[in-house]
Symmetry: C2
Subunit: 335 residues, 2 copies
């Protein structure tokens, strides 16, 4: 097998035209008679011609490919985003390269290097770290459009992301309004310099004119289900015992729910629970969890729009723009 692929030249020979004419015909140039074009198209079809995108990219300087770089695609929220991004890109006639950083800055660097070699026209990045991003800035500075899927204040990146502060504010405000006076929050984000959710929660407490102590912060070791479960003993042993829980992550919340079930704590009677970023169960239409809903779809659509726009306006580096999507609060069985 292994036939060499059909080239422009092959069509040229088969039709008697020159490669140039064939090229024009295939791209539907108006300055060619319909007759010629049809003849060429027909032969191209018959020969099963596919334009060599590689060669085309070399001359045009654009690959019509964007790179998507994420920490971990196993996070259902990111999976959903990845899917939507791919869809939107493909609709726009763009290809997508994918790489995962596993939340390691080193891997992230490697992946970016890969994308750079492959000459992607732009990158969508869900970064490994909130602090270390000089390597990403370098890309943007080199004039390659980069769009961040997370807000990194002061970083100067184009951004389309969730407004975590607003989300946390909504969630905790809801709890306050429901009469809760002792609210526990599970958030390991501090270690990564991600204070938004905490800030939003605190603001809600202030807005409700509750004392600062109405919100107590707990930092699980990670953001896995097991971590959420593990810290609950500590949470429920606190005096005064919290009557509501706000978890900065869906899996933490689910872990907490598990602990409650196993320890005879009735949710939401004894403990109201609100999670965050809920997608996992929601994808199955089965989540019993109240959540701040990560708007992956909207972010993805806006993100793709924006980066394609940036690519189009190649000329100058317009000022970076940050769009924050305010997430909806979805109240289900646990509140």
């Amino acid at each position: 097998m292994a036939k060499p692929p059909v080239r422009l030249k092959d069509i040229a020979e088969a039709t008697g035209f020159s490669a140039n004419t064939v090229s024009l015909a295939l791209r539907g140039s108006p300055r060619l008679p319909v007759e010629t074009r049809e003849r060429v198209l027909e032969v191209a079809e018959r020969l099963n011609y596919f334009p060599n995108h590689v060669a085309r990219s070399l001359v045009s300087g654009a690959t019509r490919t964007i790179g998507l770089l994420m920490t971990d695609i196993m996070n259902p929220t990111l999976t959903l985003a990845a899917r939507t991004i791919e869809r939107e890109l493909s609709r726009a006639g763009y290809g997508m390269m994918f790489a995962a950083s596993d939340a390691s800055v080193e891997s992230e660097k490697r992946a970016i290097g890969l994308f750079l070699s492959y000459r992607v026209d732009g990158m969508l990045i869900y970064p490994a770290s909130h602090n270390t991003y000089a390597h990403i800035s370098a890309v943007a500075d080199a004039g390659i459009p980069v769009l961040m899927l997370v807000e990194l204040p002061g970083s100067g990146f184009d951004t389309v992301a969730i407004d975590d502060r607003a989300g946390a504010f909504k969630a905790v405000s809801h709890l306050c309004k429901a009469g809760h006076r002792h609210i526990a929050m599970l958030d390991g984000g501090k270690a990564h310099g991600n204070l938004d959710k905490m800030k939003g929660a605190q603001k809600a407490i202030r807005a409700a004119r509750l004392p600062k102590g109405a919100l107590s912060l707990f930092e699980p070791g990670g953001h896995s289900l097991a971590d959420g479960s593990a810290i609950m003993a500590e949470v429920m042993a606190t005096d005064p015992r919290p009557t509501a829980l706000f978890a900065s992550t869906d899996s933490l919340a689910i872990g907490a729910l598990h602990w409650c079930r196993e320890n005879g704590v009735s949710v939401p009677r004894d403990l109201a629970v609100i999670g965050y970023d809920n997608t996992e169960m929601a994808a199955y239409g089965a989540s019993p969890l109240s959540t701040v809903n990560y708007a992956a779809d909207e972010i993805s659509r806006l993100g793709v729009d924006r980066i394609l726009r940036r690519i189009a306006q190649r000329e100058d580096a317009a000022d970076p723009e940050t769009t924050l999507i305010e997430p909806d609060l979805i109240i289900r069985g646990t509140t």
Copy 2:
């Protein structure tokens, strides 16, 4: 910004060598004095040079990119496979393009066209249909290595996939051995020409020397959680009433579990349940469901190995090889 990227020529000018020498140096040719090489590397580093993979591909005829085409990345099983595949490829220095077909043959064709234009070195495909794959055969016939992640008997593709027959056999055998004499099976695969699970289940019945009627087949409208839930009334109304359930899909099984909980059917006391392809909850370490476990990791690793091997042995079209992975049976709370 938008500086034009650094080329070989730029380094050549900066060092006084020719582009050729620079190229050789960067690729560590042994026929260059170490001195020269170091000088070149240093300048390349300083200038922040990245090889233009596009140009390199044009001359080498290989893009060191493979295309991954799946029906839907939101299926956690496939997500996991995608992640592992990306990892393995990146370890091997390959880039990955991703596209989703949404189980539509038309989209699949479009995506394949895209991959073809981009001149991927090979494709990993989880196909949209078990019947319609002429467009994929065409790719393989054109000499582009294709590896199928699903077994399509008689299709002549290189394949690394789950042995669904063995999986179903294991599951139903387990139920038979546990003394069940009336087993219901949920499987909508017949419509797609996917009979393996059914065949395996029937074989298990025969092997257990039970009458054919010991297994009754139910066909849900789809494979969603809701579909699984919806069909349970019918299942449990059957006479004699089944004491065990084998669902061909994880979501069907979970849907069934929901129905049981809402209808006072105690699992596993009144009904033993085994699902299939379990990854969703398992990813959270929290599945209560007994399952036939899709070995996404193993499949991915073997699949990548195989396609890279095929690419390496470019020369001839060796006979297609089919590797079937026998899935493990994981017994949890529901059995």
